[in-house]
């Protein structure tokens, strides 16, 4: 067990926790102390030694203080072409004065909703960081989409992070989507400064029957930031949850995405791109739990790794005994661009039912020499040809984004990163 597990290392963080949600926090606290931070050889954190990372960079944990965000900053930060509603956060604290009032949507602070059963979806015992957040989160946001509401425009959750060395930002979201409702969230974080802070985020999504939820995530943290997130949802009968996670920077990023298919005819989709360079380390751990018959899950993660970056992918498909007629597909493709880049991938299937169709595929390779030659033969120089092929490689995931303006924005970010415009 890591030395960080000691109560005193976290004492200032835990002591700073507000006094509400007493039983929820106690549960989180107990669970966190019982688990400790992941040990070096812990299977779930085998290739992502986050405990060491935290020890090296952060000596004293304290909550990050809120700071002032100006309307101009918000205006200049919202991506071009965005049409929709906006919720703004500074270091995880909700800023209602800068956010839009959204019709059909109830938005309030978690602290105003003492009846919420926090931790009932993202269970603290599953992950030490989820437990830490549950024990010591400051406040968070509650979003509720009423029954049958069709929220056509996307809701942009814009988080500004600016913290000193060693400070901890712990955002927490609780999203409730009523039966037959549809909603799209774009979760974007913007880092102001290059300090080494730690973001520990938890998002719990409670979807209704036949609901449609799209959750897009753009991670562009500062190059020294450490981030862990736990996003979990229960998908009800006839409902659909789709996520796209785009990770572009950060020091060490760990995403835990857990989909629990609990109603028949439900569908869970997980897509992601990690396009990283420098010393960035991105770890995507996804878990699909098929508990009922007739459900479907799809997963596609693509990685492009340059410099000394490291990509970790662990996709777990769990098909329980009752989950007959399950269809589950999973794919992970990686391209290594440099001698020093590393990929650790583990597409995992655990199947306890027999009448299922499950498959996974995983590749690590390079660009197709022949395709490259084809382009060069047509007068496209090598660098640009490479960029073009990489762009096409990433394109398969990008096209899963249904909000056009956001897709174009991500597109342009990826083109910038690949060094040329197409």
């Amino acid at each position: 067990m890591s030395t960080l597990t000691k109560q005193d290392t976290f004492s200032s963080l835990l002591a700073a926790a507000p006094k509400n949600f007493e039983s929820v926090r106690t549960l989180g606290n107990e669970s966190f102390l019982a688990q400790g931070l992941p040990a070096v050889k812990a299977e779930e954190y085998k290739f992502t030694n986050i405990s060491k990372k935290l020890e090296q960079n952060i000596s004293n944990f304290s909550p990050a203080l809120p700071f002032k965000v100006t309307a101009e900053l918000v205006k200049s930060s919202v991506f071009e072409g965005f049409e929709g509603d906006l919720l703004v956060f500074a270091n995880g604290k909700f800023l209602p004065e800068l956010s839009s009032k959204i019709e059909d949507l109830e938005v309030s602070l978690i602290s105003d909703k003492p009846e919420l059963s926090l931790g009932s979806i993202a269970k603290p015992e599953k992950d030490a960081f989820a437990a830490l957040n549950q024990a010591s989160f400051e406040d968070g946001i509650f979003i509720s989409v009423p029954k049958k509401a069709q929220i056509e425009k996307p809701v942009l959750l814009l988080s500004f992070n600016q913290a000193n060395e060693g400070q901890v930002i712990q955002p927490r979201l609780w999203i409730e989507v009523g039966d037959f409702a549809e909603v799209t969230f774009i979760d974007q974080s913007i880092s102001l400064g290059d300090t080494s802070y730690f973001v520990n985020k938890v998002v719990e999504v409670k979807g209704g029957v036949n609901s449609q939820i799209h959750y897009y995530r753009l991670q562009n943290e500062g190059k020294n930031a450490i981030e862990v997130s736990n996003i979990e949802t229960d998908i009800q009968k006839d409902a659909r949850f789709s996520s796209v996670t785009i990770s572009l920077s950060g020091d060490m990023v760990r995403n835990n995405l857990n989909l629990n298919l609990i109603g028949s005819n439900s569908e869970g989709n997980m897509y992601g791109i990690y396009l990283i360079n420098g010393k960035t380390h991105v770890d995507n751990h996804t878990n699909v739990d098929h508990t009922i018959p007739h459900a479907e899950s799809n997963e596609l993660y693509k990685g492009i790794l340059a410099d000394q970056s490291r990509g970790v992918f662990n996709g777990k498909i769990f098909v329980r005994q009752d989950a007959q007629k399950t269809n589950a597909f999973q794919q992970n493709n990686n391209i290594l661009l440099s001698e020093d880049a590393i990929v650790n991938t583990k597409p995992q299937l655990e199947i306890w039912a027999d009448d299922v169709k499950c498959s996974h595929g995983c590749t690590v390779g390079q660009l197709d020499e022949e395709a490259l030659f084809y382009l060069q033969a047509r007068g496209i120089d090598k660098m640009q040809a490479k960029g073009l092929l990489l762009y096409a490689f990433a394109g398969e995931v990008l096209e899963k984004i249904e909000v056009e303006s956001f897709r174009e924005y991500c597109d342009s970010l990826i083109q910038d990163r690949l060094g040329s415009k197409f």
Binding site: F47, L336, N344, P347, I351, A353, D355, S359, H360, G365
Partner: protein, 481 residues
């Protein structure tokens, strides 16, 4: 459905055909495990002092190790102190002439269909038969020695070729490699040793046949195969055990060393007693198998058909150290009733232009659990490494499980690695198609399973392929869920 059930019933009530045991007068070590026992075994085998030291060192390291728990198998803890670590037929006097071997022992092997008599010449297989803790007979030694090939029991090799043993023992699987390998290093009793000299192509299949007979014993054998430069050998391994209610432990170590341009093909048909249909008894098969392609252009190929054992924990691996070396792993693992298998491979690419191929076919029926666990690792200097992995699982019955845990760790941008896995049940449309053409469901399943496993079975030497096919049919015929 009812018909399927009746077929399933029929299948599961099928007896394990090698379940008998024979009473022979045995020379046994006292029960328990301590340094004294190790000294006892070593003295019994008249071993040189360096080997005893090696054993004791392994034992002392083993004492500091803990039993691995990461595998996806569950079983009652084995009380290693209640086992007997040495049991040998008393009358045995190892001779070159088979006529001098106790006819009773020969009868045991004849009953298993393994003829130790020279009539085996027709099939051209040289056999080393290991009963409980000792090697009973090795055939064809004369023919082989003319070519310079050494094929004998491990204990003989220690006496006759100590320099080879000293050089290669523990060079691929270090004595401290893992819990069971360390235990094996401490208490191993016998096994086979094979050395193919430079430039020699072994003219016949070499084979070891393991048989556990005594109760309350563990079998710890050790196989060491050394293929010198430009040599070739194909090696077979088979095993059975009597049906007993208690679990028996089998913890073997196989080491393969392949020099430059050498090729070693290692095939196993593992048919240890799997326990009865309530999951009572059966062998715990905790085996460490590893080969090293030490020289350039060398090749090691593992083929395994796993049908027996209550619990299997086995990962035949290849260390691809030489440039242009090749590692292959072909596996069919069938589990039924309460069997559990956690098996797979490791391909470690160290040399440049190394290639590996993994084909794993898992079939689970009844209430069994079948896991594939594999690792493909491409080291930083392993330029142009290539790997292709295919892991398919077939499920029969809604109480069984199939799991896949592939680890892919790549540290070189020129590597090309592909992994593919599918899990499904036997297609109803395929069965229907066969039914339509007058093929009974039971036969159709055998047909489909055989087709499914063909890619692997094709890798087996002829004589084994036939046996393996029969085994498959016996284990699975008709178990449509």
């Amino acid at each position: 459905m009812s018909k399927d059930n009746s077929i399933l019933e029929e299948l599961t009530s099928k007896e394990y055909e090698h379940g008998w045991s024979v009473n022979y007068e045995a020379d046994e070590a006292p029960i328990g495990l301590n340094e004294g026992i190790i000294r006892w075994i070593s003295a019994k085998k008249e071993e040189p002092s360096w080997l005893l030291e090696w054993r004791l060192k392994a034992f002392r390291t083993w004492l500091t190790m803990t039993e691995p728990e990461w595998a996806n198998v569950h079983y009652p803890k084995i009380d290693l102190q209640s086992l007997r670590y040495y049991s040998a037929p008393k009358q045995i006097k190892k001779t070159k002439n088979l006529d001098e071997v106790d006819p009773e022992l020969i009868a045991i092997y004849e009953r298993l269909g393994i003829s130790l008599n020279e009539q085996k010449r027709l099939q051209g297989i040289a056999v080393d038969a290991v009963l409980d803790s000792v090697s009973v007979a090795t055939t064809f030694r004369g023919t082989l020695s003319k070519l310079g090939i050494v094929f004998c029991s491990f204990s003989e090799a220690v006496k006759e070729h100590p320099e080879l043993i000293k050089k290669y023992l523990g060079s691929v699987v270090p004595m401290t490699d893992n819990y069971y390998a360390a235990l094996n290093a401490a208490v191993f009793s016998d096994g086979s040793f094979c050395y193919i000299p430079k430039g020699v192509r072994c003219p016949m299949e070499l084979s070891t046949y393991f048989r556990i007979n005594a109760a309350n014993t563990g079998q710890f054998e050790r196989t060491l195969i050394v293929a010198d430069e430009e040599s070739y050998v194909s090696y077979l391994e088979g095993c059975t055990a009597p049906s007993r209610d208690e679990n028996q432990l089998h913890a073997a170590v196989v080491e393969i060393y392949a020099g430059a341009h050498a090729e070693v093909k290692y095939s196993t048909v593992q048919n240890w007693y799997p326990g009865d249909k309530e999951g009572k008894g059966g062998i715990f098969n905790f085996v460490t198998k590893r080969g090293i392609c030490a020289g350039d252009y060398s090749k090691i190929s593992w083929t395994q058909v796993e049908t027996g054992s209550a619990v299997t924990w086995k990962y035949p691996s290849c260390i691809l150290k030489g440039d242009h070396s090749i590692g292959e792993f072909y596996s069919v693992a069938v589990t039924n009733n309460y069997q559990q298998a956690d098996t797979g491979t490791k391909m470690i690419h160290i040399g440049k232009n190394t290639k590996s191929r993994i084909v794993s076919k898992g079939i689970s029926a009844g209430k069994s659990q079948n896991s594939y666990r594999g690792q493909v690792q491409v080291m930083k200097r392993a330029d142009n490494a290539r790997n292709f992995s295919q892991c398919d699982s077939l499920l029969m019955g809604d109480r069984c499980g199939a799991h896949t845990f592939p680890y892919i760790d790549i540290n070189n941008p020129s590597a090309k690695v592909e992994h593919e896995a599918t899990t499904s049940k036997i297609g109803e449309d395929q069965i229907f198609y066969c039914n339509q053409r007058g093929i009974a469901t039971e036969d159709a399943v055998a047909l489909i399973v055989n087709g499914y496993a063909k890619e692997v079975l094709n890798q087996l030497p002829m004589e084994f392929a036939v046996e393996a096919q029969k085994l498959l049919a016996l284990t699975l015929e008709g178990s449509v869920g």
